[in-house]
């Protein structure tokens, strides 16, 4: 397992040539939700690989069960980067994804999530799904850290199998929290805006 993880990190680095920038935030072992824009299957792997090794051990990307459980290789990869697989099709009443995430996080793990839900082929980000809001509401102690992944859609766009090894950027920004009396819409809009701001700062 150790070996596969290391190979994965090396492969992610070679394929996506990422540089990581921590802006107004430092790497920390406190419990966090990293939320990022989603354009490529590589997103979860690259963002996870971009974290320092000691954070990688306690950070779990949330990924789609239907994609990552298909075939032996994907399953093996998913378990190597300790992915938390969520079934997108069958959301049960007693087993909502948010409850599952909170249970799996315990008091140790951080998560990587993509609140747009599915990969986005357009220029602008999609509206955020409400999961992030409920996570923030049920666990107000979590730091919600916005991440902007740049260029991933050119490295492995939707519908392609082979990646083109270009260069990419991972920009990690200052955490946000759910404000007192903030509505779901307001909060999700603000969260989305925090990623857009990271993108605009970069340009």
């Amino acid at each position: 397992m150790q070996l596969t993880s290391r190979l994965l990190v090396a492969a992610a680095k070679i394929i996506s040539g990422y540089t990581v920038r921590w802006k107004h935030v430092m790497p920390d072992t406190c419990q966090r939700i990293y939320f990022a824009n989603h354009t490529s299957h590589l997103d979860a792997l690259v963002l996870w690989a971009g974290l320092p090794a000691h954070l990688r051990e306690i950070t779990r990307p949330v990924a789609a069960k239907d994609y990552w459980e298909k075939g032996w290789i994907r399953r093996h990869v998913a378990s190597a980067f300790n992915a938390l697989l969520i079934d997108r099709r069958e959301v049960k009443v007693h087993q909502s994804p948010v409850d599952l995430m909170i249970r799996e996080m315990d008091d140790k793990y951080s998560l990587i999530i993509f609140p747009e839900g599915s990969r986005n082929a357009k220029e602008e980000m999609n509206k955020f799904k409400s999961g992030l809001y409920y996570l923030a509401k049920k666990r107000p102690d979590l730091e919600l850290v916005p991440v902007y992944l740049d260029n991933m859609n050119r490295i492995l766009p939707r519908g392609e199998v082979l990646p083109v090894p270009l260069l990419s950027n991972i920009t990690i920004g200052a955490p946000i929290w759910l404000e007192q009396g903030e509505s779901k819409q307001q909060f999700l809009g603000r969260a989305r805006q925090s990623i857009i701001r990271l993108r605009d700062d970069e340009e």
Binding site: G17, T19, R21, A121, N151, R154, P157, E160, L162, P163, V164, P165, L166, L167, N169, E202
Partner: protein, 346 residues
Amino acid sequence: MLFDTLHPLIGGFLEDSSKLILPFEKRTAWLIAAVMILLIIGSLVGKLLERSSEERLNSAIVRSFNQRIRSWWLMCAILIAGLVIGRTGTVVLFGMIGFWALREFITMTPTRRGDHRALFWVLVIFTPLQFFLVGLNDERQMFKVLLPIIAALFVPMRIALANDEKRFLERSAKILIGILICVYALSFAPALLYLQIVDSTGRLWNADSTLSANKGLLFFFVLITQLNDVMQFGWGKLIGRNLIADRINTSRTSEGVIAAAASSALLGALFCWVTPFLFWQAAIIAVVISLTGFAGGLTMSAIKRDRGVKDFGTLLQGHAGILDRIDSLCFAAPVFYLLTEFFFTS
């Protein structure tokens, strides 16, 4: 069959590594020693300037000077490492540099979704194949035709297959210019190692150690291009008056280019002992290197201006900006190679 094809690669590697103790002959070793001393002096000067920069000197220039020295140390280390490993090792190293440069080039060039497969071919297949052919050193010299003919026809075809006609010509041109400069032109530098060179009297140059001798020539070439870069900048700052193309580049002046060409001629003559050239031949070739190096810098400036950036390094923050360092090298390499091949091989 396979063995026959691979033999020149493996054979070259083994022969070279058997001489690991002193993998290059004396002249090359002397040249490397001279460069090391220059770099040490440069680093010390940089440290001194850094300390006194607050009061007197423009700290931006000092910083760029120190950055340059640092990247030269790296380049020098890479080059020496490559020379120690052998011919094949040098080709692999240049291959990685070319790959990285093309990566930077394509990353800063907007492409469309329909270019994906063409880009995959270019980065993952054509680029390694080009350097493989350089190392293969076959009689027909396939490396000279692979990219300008095969790839140049293949790329537009692959884009057409993707069924997206928007700005088709522009997209094909961008990708082709990228491989032409970053990969094809650059690959002529390690190809120097495979030339059977004769000196001006028609005798085989370094008949006893042809394998290692060309390393000195490659080192000479890289050294002159890099020194010429800094001299063009330095002379331009000191005596430059007339900008050559002010909309493209604000530091290249005609005075700087002429003075740098003259100084390069001097340096070329000074280092002629590592080359098969007589001192006046070395001087002329150094002038050619200087002018083609200038052409490379200017052309890449135009591309960067078109994209609205100052250098590739700032666009890809945190990335090394390899393309900024090798632009002159890319343009000078094919010309230097062809001149050497034309006049100094039998």
